[in-house]
Symmetry: C2
Subunit: 152 residues, 2 copies
Amino acid sequence: MTVRYLEGFLVGQTFGSGRRVVEKQRMKSFAAEFDPQPFHLDRDAASKSIFKGLVASGWHTAAITMRLLVTSGVNLAGGAIGLGADELRWPNPVRPGDKLRVEVEIVEVRQSRSKPDRGTVRIRYVTRNQKDEIVMTLTATTLVPKKAETTK
Amino acid sequence: MTVRYLEGFLVGQTFGSGRRVVEKQRMKSFAAEFDPQPFHLDRDAASKSIFKGLVASGWHTAAITMRLLVTSGVNLAGGAIGLGADELRWPNPVRPGDKLRVEVEIVEVRQSRSKPDRGTVRIRYVTRNQKDEIVMTLTATTLVPKKAETTK
């Protein structure tokens, strides 16, 4: 895969990812470590909750989305160095066995004002399940080096 | 701990959490699964990166922050059901052995317009390390049931 520097990004570009299955046991063990709530851990308790069944922690979905991004075609030079993110939403729950993928779109490319060797790229992520339902969205700002400066 | 319904929240309330150490091996295994980038996985590669040493994945920091929240004094009735989050920032890196804690502040309490039995609480999280440096901030919107409606 080509490593992509700031100059390699344009607003409107889109990239896809591979797919990743959310295994029930991993869903539960992630929740046990990081988000120990009944609707992530126990089938019976979950069936009585607002979710009507077991669901993944939103932070597990976010972590899987990151994995899909890192191994996608975006391939940011220097790595995916997140400065921050906004508009994180979980419009539909993730269920055991769901198969997720992420679509990313470049929404802004900006030269740093103070540092000529870098800039930022704003990336819109949309994570979908096997039924194409949106399970997560996010807009992240990522630091990206310029090729002209870093390779001269 | 008292379970807290919508009526139990007021703008300006603050809550603290326990502390949690970020173990180096867990930092690396989390990254290997979800964020496999050299500056999260390999000491030598990390020392040559912008971070000048190993750092935790921002999503690992987010997951630890969730754990600290779930086991804090906030104790939301019905669980911490996140509708979404904004202003997620990682102003300083998390290093192996760092000890994290989270402070939360209630910034908005709102009755649902369409559903009398619930509302939303906006919560500002600030995650700090043992030197009191801020390593993550986040503003999350959480669904909270009303006691008056759910227990009558």
